[in-house]
Structure formats: C-alpha cells, structure tokens
C-alpha cells in the first residue's frame, strides 16, 4: 500500500482532528471542496476556509492564506492544483499544522516531502469526506467498499 494512503494514518487524522483548514474552499455549492466543507461542518468539525478570492463561505470567515489563520489547525486539506502544493505545505509547516491532506487527484510528491520532513503526517489522493464516511459509518449505505471487517458490535 502507498505510504501516503496508510490506513492507520488516515484513521488517526479523521478521528483525531477537530479544526480543518480547507485551502481552495469554493463558495459554489457544486464544487467538490464545498461538498467536503459542508459535510465536515455537519459532522462537528470546525472548518476554516482559506481562499484569497472569498470573504465568507459556509458561514465562516475566509482567510487569504494559512499564515493569516489566528488559531491552531489540526489538518490542512488542499483543493488546489498540484503546482501550488509545495508552497502550501511550507506554510502548513510554518504555522504548526498537525497534518497535510491532499484531496483526490492532487498529486504532489514535492509537497508531501516538505510536510513529511517537518514531521507532519501526510495523506495524498484521498478524500477527507469519503474517509470520514468510511470509518464512521454511512458510506456503506451507498454500496462502497469501506474495508471495514469486524464481527464486534460498533461502539
């Protein structure tokens, strides 16, 4: 298995995080970033939008970059083109974020390396919403393979 899709790492981030900064969170309800932000808010995460082109998204104040965010960030979730990722990873390291997460199709080995060398866990080419639904329950209602194999009663 790809070390940037390690199931234990994914599990620890999804279950352990509270504050998620979404870089590239769009105000358009039809964009994938909006789907994810909306979903994470519904499931109790604090979502901080980062996008230089917006002011308010999902009822939250938007910040132009990670450096402007005035609170601790558990996960930086990226919806930007791969070329923008190394700089975002560098910022994530500088602001002391807990982890770097690159969404479906955002492949940046360079960005992943920058974060990993600073000790941040990294997940690449996965969706935070999908992984939350996989681990915490509802995704299997859609016939997707969650990979959950257990004969014990869920707590």
């Amino acid at each position: 298995m790809n070390e940037l899709q390690d199931r234990r790492t994914i599990q620890e981030i999804v279950l352990g995080a509270h504050t998620v900064a979404i870089v590239g969170l769009s105000a358009s309800e039809l964009r994938a970033s909006h789907f994810v932000g909306y979903y994470l808010q519904r499931h109790g995460y604090r979502v901080i939008p980062v996008n230089p082109n917006e002011e308010h998204v999902l009822g939250e104040q938007v910040y132009p970059s990670l450096r402007e965010v005035p609170e601790h960030i558990d996960v930086v979730d990226v919806f930007r083109a791969p070329a923008a990722v190394p700089e975002i990873a560098q910022e994530a390291v500088e602001v002391g974020a807990g982890a770097l997460w690159l969404q479906f199709g955002i492949i940046s080995p360079e960005g992943a390396r920058i974060a990993q060398e600073a000790g941040l866990p990294v997940v690449m080419d996965r969706c935070l919403k999908v992984e939350h639904a996989r681990l915490l329950g509802r995704m299997h209602w859609m016939g997707f393979d969650t990979g959950v194999i257990a004969g014990s009663r869920p707590r």
């Binding site: 390690d6 199931r7 016939g143 393979d145 194999i149 869920p154």
Partner: protein, 435 residues
Amino acid sequence: MDDASREFGFNTRAVHAGQRPDPYTGASATPIYQTAGFVFEDTESASAYFNLQEYGNIYSRIMNPTVAAFEERLANLEGGAGAVAFASGLAAQAGLFFALLEPGDRIAVAKALYGGSTAQLNHLARKLQIDLDWVDMDDPDGWRRSVTTGTKMLFAETIANPGGNVLDIELAASVAHEVGAPLVVDNTFATPYLCRPLEFGADIVIHSATKFLVGNGTTIAGAVVDSGAFDWSNGRFPSIAEPSTAYHGLKFHETFGVYGLLMKLRSETLRDFGAVLAPFNAFLLVLGMESLAVRMDRHVANALAVAEWLCEQPGVGAVRHPALRDSPYRPLVERYLPRGAGSVFSFDLESGREGGRRFIEALSLWSHLANVGDTKSLVIHPASTTHRQLSDDELVASGVAPGTVRLSVGLEDVDDLLWDLERGLRAARGSAVTA
C-alpha cells in the same frame, strides 16, 4: 478502536465485508430492511441527502441498507471501489450501458457471449443507435483489429457461456486503454473467488448474481462493480465528466472522484430505471456469499471430474471444459483461473438432436432447467429447448451442435452425478445408428 491496518483474507471478507453486527440491536445476521422509505432526521438532512452532500437513506429505489450489504461485500471481494445492485444481471448490464453510452457510439463485444446478452445488445443497438463490432476473442489480434479510436467500450465474459472461451484480460485491457475506453468484464462464471478481472486491468465488472454468488438458485439479481481507476475526464465520457442536467450542473467525476461512476449509476440510472434489487433478495445474496469460496472449490472439483469422465465415454464427442489438459484455453486458465475454471461447460453427443432428447429424458438426479451456478446439478439441451426453432444448419451457425448439452455441475457426490450421466449416455446411444 478497530485495527484498520490488517489485510484480511478472502474467506474472512466473504463472511464479514459489508456487514457487521447491528449497532442498535446487536443482531448478528444482516437485518432485512423491508421498507420503501426512510424517515429524515430534519429538513436540513433531507436536502443534504437529495443534494448528494451527505450519504443518507432516502428511498429503496435508490438505496437500501440490506442491498448495500450485498453491494459492499461484492465490491470488496472483487477489489472494486463499490458496487450498484440491480434486479437482474441483464438489468445491471443495461443500466451500465445506458450510463456510459451515447447515441452513435461504437463498442467492441466478444462474439462468444451469453445469448441473453447478445439479444440485449442487438436490441440496444437498434433502439439507441449503438454500433456493435463483434470480436473473435480467441484471436490474439481480434481486439486490436476491431477497436478504433472511436470505440467507447470493450465487453466480454471471463469464461464465455456456453463455449467456455477464456478471455485474455490483460490483452483486452491494454487495447482498451490505448484508445481511452474502459474494459467491461462479465465475471459471472468465474466469481471473484476464481478470478478478479480488476486486478488484471479490467475497469468494470458486472455480474448475474443469480448464479454462484447466491449459490442456490433462489434469487434473480445483478450488479455493477467499478474499480474507480478509469479516467472518465479523458474527454470521451461527457455524461460522467460534464455537468449533469439531472443534478443542477453537478460534475460526477470531478466531485466524487473514484466514486463518480457509481454515484451516477445509483442516483441517476437506478433512480430512472427502477430495476432495483429487493431487500429480501439481497439478504439471500449476503448469506450465500459467505460460503462462496468453499462452494466454488467443490464446484470446480466436481466439474473437472465430470468433464474428464465424459472424455472417456463412448458416444461423447467434444468436451469443452477450459481446464482440460488438451483445451486450447489451458494457458489462459493457468494465468487467470489458477483455482479452477468454474463448473459450467458443454459437450457434444454424437447421437445428435434426438440423442440429446433421450439423454435428458433418461436423467433423474440432474435437473432439466435453464439456469446455472446452483448447488444442484443442472442440464439443458439447447437444440430441444432454447434453440428449438432452428434447423441443424442454423444451430451450427449459432455455435451449438444438434447434440450439444450444457452442464452446470453442483455440489452433490460426484459418483452419484456420474451414475445418472451414465444412464443418460446409455439412452442417448440407444438408437444412435438411426439418429
């Protein structure tokens, strides 16, 4: 916390994937959610479900938790991202073609195909203006000769019904991917225990779950399993990559990534087709699949024993079991089906159409029945049933000899199966000279 890092084996996943004890009641078996609709928590949740922003149960024509247990178990065993169940194998196939294809598209299809699929494709081709290129899948250049940059999809069976032709999956996949088309494989006869086409480069697997998956002939069912690996944004599949008018401009592939095709199949195709699997039938499938590996081992052993025995019997012509030592498919069986080539195959009686009729009438243990993949052993003689209206010449043209018999070998004691076949062969030979 569950340990997410363990890679579980096939048997463990066949028993557990898609279903764990019910969190509310502790029920160990899969509950049958026999309900049409699901009550929403609040208005906000309801609109989130309809907007596909949140996974939630809405209506059993789109999703149902019992059906989902079957879908996830099958997807897990095939190594796919997910599955969408349909009311039958043919419904699954029609749904997939409807989701992928546009009027005027060309597709390449193996000639050696289940007759029901051939009929369906000819019907779809007429109604939807799809051009079909029929491919000799036994010819190593067959796919390459038929596939062009205009081809939208390649379609074949892992083990063809009833000829037993074995697909060179890697070859077909490489030809498909050169032109940016998906390879769709009907894996009904192999099941994911004997072959997992997605591991060899196929993009989508379809099933008639009526056969070995449920295992006991109780249920009509089908499913589409998607690997999630195909790039639907390659410019050739606007219905998946471009804004959907049915979902106010949603782009399925961009928004749902590897789950894009599956979301479209469920929230558009299944919703509009209505050919949905019933919760009780899904329950039987979940139950049946628990024992898939154990059953398939016995099916495979029994079928090979019957095939080898038939080769030695007087009055028997060709025996078309792909795992036989002198079968032309033996190298492909070793590569793609190392655990065995299933339990459905055909053979020819030298006594022709009349001998076939006498053979069937003399059998008492084997059931004369138009299905395959049952615990019970099944037999059918095409020339006196499904192909009855055809002359001997027309039969041969359709790939079936007047004396061809198709067997689906079940789980009985093989000695008992041979005892009955021996009686049938004796009856078939009875007036062989006049046949």
